[in-house]
Amino acid sequence: MSRVGTEVESVLEQLEARQPKMVLTIDEYELPVTNLEKVLWPGAGRHRALTKRDLLRYLTRVSSWLLPHLKGRPMFTTRYPDGITGKSFYQKHWDKPPKFARTVSIYSSHNEGDGEYLICDNLPTLLFLAQMGGLELHPWFSRVDPAPDARGRSRKFSGSEANLERSVLNYPDFVVIDLDPYLYSGREGKGEEPELHRKAFKRTRELALRLRELLGRLGLTIYVKTSGRTGLHLYLPIVRKFDYDAARSIAETIGRYVLQQWPKEVTLEWTVVRRTGKIFFDYNQNTRGKSLASILCPRRHPLGTVSMPVHWEDLEEIYPTDFTIRTVPDILEDRGDPWANILESKQDLSELLEQRSAG
């Protein structure tokens, strides 16, 4: 068994002990974990509540699939210290990150100075975030390592906005599209976001399939995952020749095109009222520092659903609540990660775009 495999087995075994708190030994590091019986997801119907211990087990079991998607990416987290029914807040910067965590200093125009971002590259960091109640993981779409497709780009991210704009962190690996249905089930309270329901998901799925076909005719392959809540996330992996502004512009152009074709299904509107009854095509996340919930990331849903990568062929069969922190480890062990090769499947958009200009 590989060293990583042993590490996973060891942590799972330690978590078997019934104490409410303990110090986990992970490889050479020690991580104190507390309140292991604290309920983070209340459950619903026949599904029992999920505790912090369940979350630690889940992350440990999926770590070999999850960590590659977080590698080299500055990230922030949404912390829910009292579970998903309690209050939540973002955390971007850590004053005293644990010594096993990789960090990177990045200029923040918001703070007008440099800030330390966490990069979640190993199991102890992943479990540290869970210990802090950081349920949702939001990695950037760009990463600090230029190899192999952005060699020569700068790795200086601190000091000024200009440094950051010149750096490899200004060149995302993906163009992302967030399909977010604003189709209400009728059971929501006033002012609440739409809840998950069959009809809305079906329409979102149909739109995603149309997008796949549309981009397919341009020779582009796009990846799909459930958002873990009501919608779908689509990722187009690209060779890092285009910066965030270009990526956003590409996503927006696709959005406007799709809006033209299916004006009754799609909206690009920012105001919730004008989105109602349609699927919000959100291209706004193609911005440096913004993020969508990571692949395999647990979400704010009573059952503890996670954002699950799926094969297009399976999209007709699945439903977001099929994938929870309880079910996903077995599914992954059984079928693997459909997104495992996403970074090896990057598409060079300049070929498409420059070929057009020649013709």
């Binding site: 949404t78 973002y90 125009s109 918001h110 007008e112 949702e136 939001h138 906005e161 967030d178 976001e193 549309l214 005719r217 341009l218 958002s227 996330h233 285009f242 910066d243 502004d245 270009a246 956003r248 512009s249 590409i250 927006e252 152009t253 696709i254 406007r256 095109y257 074709q261 004006p263 009754k264 920012w270 105001t271 919730v272 706004n284 996340q285 911005t287 913004k290 993020s291 969508l292 919930a293 954002s307 958009l349 498409l352 775009l353 057009r356 200009s357």
Partner: protein
């Protein structure tokens, strides 16, 4: 019911009846935005000052009366506020006339009057008096800074207020003088016969705006994509259009990046959608 556009009271003699005013009619015309036909962008209306060569914010605007070509006298908000408006919150009844005395050419817009708080009794009293005497009251009211002549009459159990044009707003020039044209009794009898054939009670529900209905159908069809007959072939070309659009968008983004940028702080604020401060992904 919609929001009252005005509230005040009807006054005549010693009587004062609190009332609220609601528009009785609404235009159902389909409205359009003006686009640039070659690219589909929505055109912006700009308040442009050709002297200073700047866009002018509302706060810097004033109204000018052109008293001679290119010569203006400027009026400010304060000037308007100083104008005497005696009927500001009252509908001042001045006389009662028979409805047919007012020619329809005077009618401008119709409003419903509803009784104000605890005014049902005097309101009903005025309504019944108007109904039984079959009379219309002539009054003045100030709506949106303009003192207006109006008629007040009973209509199906409600008091209706019709704003009227002032006589000097009615154009005096008429068509040509036809008094010298001779028409025989036989011709007139024929006209009467024709009219009698078409004689029937007025039923407004028989009439529709056919143009508007056709327009709505056309828009619906365009939304459904029905105007594209040869769908498969057309779709191919449309995908190529997308590729072209993508190319243009990337070029535009590159040009944008080459420009000097405004301060980063302002730029990040502006590009942040409102909702995303709370919810991500």
């Amino acid at each position: 019911m919609a929001r009252a556009i005005w509230s005040g009271s009807i006054s005549f003699g010693m009587v004062s009846i609190p009332v609220k005013l609601f528009g009785a009619t609404e235009s159902k015309d389909i409205s359009f935005n003006l686009l640039h036909a070659t690219c589909g962008s929505r055109l912006q209306q700009r308040r442009w000052c050709p002297t200073d060569e700047v866009d002018v914010p509302w706060a810097e605007t004033a109204r000018g009366y052109e008293y001679s070509k290119g010569q203006y006298v400027m009026l400010t908000e304060e000037d308007f506020e100083r104008l005497p408006l005696p009927s500001k919150h009252t509908i001042e009844l001045t006389s009662f006339v028979e409805e047919k005395e007012i020619d329809p050419v005077f009618y401008e817009r119709s409003y419903y009057l509803e009784p104000g708080e605890r005014a049902e009794k005097p309101y009903a009293l005025l309504l019944r008096a108007l109904e039984q005497r079959k009379l219309t009251a002539v009054a003045t009211i100030t709506i949106r800074k303009k003192e207006q002549l109006c008629a007040i009459r009973a209509h199906e159990g409600t008091i209706v207020l019709e704003t009227l044009f002032y006589p000097d707003e009615i154009r005096l020039e008429r068509g040509m003088d036809l008094s010298g044209v001779k028409v025989s009794d036989r011709e007139l009898d024929m006209a009467f016969t024709l009219i009698d054939i078409f004689r029937k009670p007025f039923d407004p529900t028989e009439y529709h705006d056919h143009y508007r209905e056709a327009l709505a159908e056309l828009i619906e069809a365009k939304l459904e994509g029905k105007q594209v007959v040869k769908a498969p072939a057309a779709r191919e070309t449309r995908v190529i259009d997308l590729a072209d659009a993508l190319k243009r968008s990337v070029e535009a983004a590159k040009k944008e990046a080459a420009k000097p940028k405004p301060p980063a702080r302002a730029r990040t604020r502006a590009s942040r959608p409102a909702r995303r401060t709370r919810k991500v992904g």
